[in-house]
């Protein structure tokens, strides 16, 4: 089973917006999105058990190469970095179009992504990729095993989980906590440097229509809630009871 994993570079800590209202992505500390490590781990386990390779695809500034290096050190075989100045400020649609075109250049049975990114958390890019590729998708996945029909997949729901039969190829998004991402070993880190990283140009991808449809016109701080009283030890119970009584819930 060949798996393509979508991996995003995200700022570590709280991201900031520049004067152009775009996220500052260059010159800030950034790392592979922790949310993408679960999908990567699932992909590595699948290929270890069933054969095949893991290819990691990222769209981002040159620094996104770091996210790819980490994924290669964890065990992926190949990296694909799409980086072009015109992609700065890309919106969800542009991102999905670029990712779909890049993924389409490689053989795959499964595309794995995060449920939502840590910085943007729109949470729609993977299904949009699936639609562009014209394939099935299941989101919020916590387990996946190959089956006769393609894959047997458990998807988290509000009250439990549903089991899906899913034809392959397909796109899945993997929830946090579903697997325990491995740490790259020293050997893995060394080997990663030898692994291929392709850098297709937008021309290679043949993507058209890469104008963002979303513009931020103003940014303001959300009102922060001022704290109230802080109490310790013995006083605590009495004060909580008073508050509950004031709220008329006891």
């Amino acid at each position: 089973m060949n798996v393509v994993v979508c991996a995003k570079l995200v700022p570590t800590g709280t991201p900031t917006l520049g004067p152009d209202h775009l996220v500052v992505r260059s010159g800030t500390d950034a790392a592979l999105d922790p949310g993408d490590e679960y999908g990567l781990e699932l992909a590595l386990q699948l290929t270890e058990q069933h054969g095949g390779d893991v290819t990691v695809v990222s769209m981002g500034p040159d620094e996104a190469g770091q996210a790819i290096q980490r994924a290669l050190a964890m065990g992926a075989s190949r990296g694909v970095l799409v980086s072009d100045p015109s992609l700065r400020g890309a919106d969800a649609l542009v991102t999905a179009r670029v990712l779909a075109a890049a993924i389409g250049m490689y053989p795959f049975d499964l595309v794995v992504a995060g449920v939502e990114s840590t910085d943007g958390y729109t949470g729609t890019v993977p299904v949009t990729v699936a639609e562009i590729l014209g394939i099935a998708s299941v989101t919020a996945v916590r387990r996946l095993e190959p089956s006769d029909a393609g894959a047997r997949i458990e998807r988290m729901t509000e009250r439990g989980y549903d089991v899906y039969e899913c034809p392959l190829p397909a796109v899945v998004t993997v929830t946090a906590g579903s697997v325990e991402p491995r740490f790259p070993s020293l050997k893995g880190i060394m080997q990663a440097k030898q692994k291929p990283v392709d850098r297709p140009s937008l021309q290679d991808l043949g993507s058209r229509d890469l104008t963002a449809t979303q513009t931020v016109t103003a940014v303001t701080d959300a009102p922060t809630k001022a704290g109230g009283e802080v109490v310790q030890g013995d006083e605590a119970v009495g004060r909580i009871v008073e508050l509950l009584a004031e709220a008329k819930v006891i």
Partner: protein, 320 residues
């Protein structure tokens, strides 16, 4: 006036409560919004949708939408959009609706905005980003309709007492685009009020140390009466409580009269799901925990002492 459509998610228990909020959002700029209800129970839901301001409801009760979540709904919506040319389609920021919106964006190539909290018109909306710390005003370009996902509980539902014109729809979904199919469902039985509806929410975090300590919150909930128990993602990821308990960016949004957190630090992604509570109580042994700083009442102390003592005290008061 701008043609606003609302994608009214039909769940196994009827219309998702967020559908009524979406109608309130839509009515802020369109007096006669249209709702699209797809799935078993859609026609029945039309009355309630009408009573919340939907002038027209397109309804289809075909089981295909529940069996194959996402793709068939996006397919039917795309067809309807081509025929009727609305200006905007509103979705709730839930996992299921989000999947429909993402699919739809792939097929019609419109702008999609996530995490919106209010909408001015089909091309202008406002969203909270970075865990709810910044508010951005966004302008949307591209072909109509724009697709806007609104966070649940950003506005209250408003009954209008209206009646909707119901337009039955045929589900014409070719076999080869149905995609993944649900073959089994597993549901934990739920007791007590829904987390989103409860007047009091008691939430536990990593500080509870394990699943057993949640029993303290359950007991406190039953002593208070009508309280629901929730959790941080750390407690959910650890497997102590099911995902249905999760409050925050990737979980539920709650706005109770009282929110009491025990052993929760107050990460941005948690706060975004509970900061609308009328009164916030936080119990934490670390005086520097961020949640203490925004709580109406912060308790610096050990939850293993405070919670049982609190339960006892309320029991004593109620008994007397």
């Amino acid at each position: 006036m701008a043609g606003a459509w609302v994608f009214a998610e039909i769940t196994r228990d009827g219309p998702h409560p967020a559908a009524f909020e979406l109608l309130a959002h839509a009515r802020s700029f369109d007096d006669d919004p249209t709702a699209i209800a797809l799935g078993q129970g859609a026609t029945e839901a039309a009355a309630e949708l009408g009573a919340h301001g939907a002038a027209t409801v397109y309804a289809c009760d075909d089981p295909v939408f529940a069996e194959h979540p996402g793709r068939p709904a996006a397919h039917v919506l795309a067809g309807l959009i081509e025929a009727e040319a609305p200006d905007v389609v509103l979705f709730a920021q839930t996992y299921d609706s989000r999947d429909v919106a993402g699919r739809l964006q792939g097929s019609i190539g419109s702008a999609l905005m996530g995490n919106a909290t209010s909408i001015a018109d089909p091309r202008h909306a406002r969203a909270e980003i970075f865990g709810g710390t910044k508010i951005v005003d966004v302008e949307l370009a591209g072909p109509a309709p724009t697709l806007i996902l609104l966070r649940p509980k950003s506005i209250a539902a408003e009954p209008t007492g209206g009646t909707a014109r119901v337009v039955p729809l045929e589900a014409d979904v070719p076999e080869d685009i149905r995609g993944a199919r649900i073959v089994e469902r597993h549901e934990e039985s739920a007791s007590g009020p829904r987390l989103e509806d409860a007047k009091v929410v008691l939430a536990g975090g990593r500080g509870l140390g394990g699943p057993d300590a949640f029993a303290m919150l359950d007991e406190l909930a039953s002593v208070i009466g009508g309280a629901a128990v929730g959790a941080s993602r750390a407690a959910v990821d650890a497997g102590w409580v099911p995902y249905s308990y999760q409050i925050g960016q990737t979980g539920k949004t709650v706005k109770p009269d009282v929110y009491l957190a025990a052993g929760i630090s107050g990460a941005l992604q948690h706060v975004v799901g509970m900061k609308g509570a009328k009164r916030i109580v936080a119990i934490n042994k670390d005086a520097d925990a961020p949640l203490l700083a925004m709580a109406d009442l912060g308790v610096v102390g050990d939850l293993f002492q405070v919670l049982p003592a609190l339960t006892e005290e309320i029991r004593r008061r109620k008994g007397s």
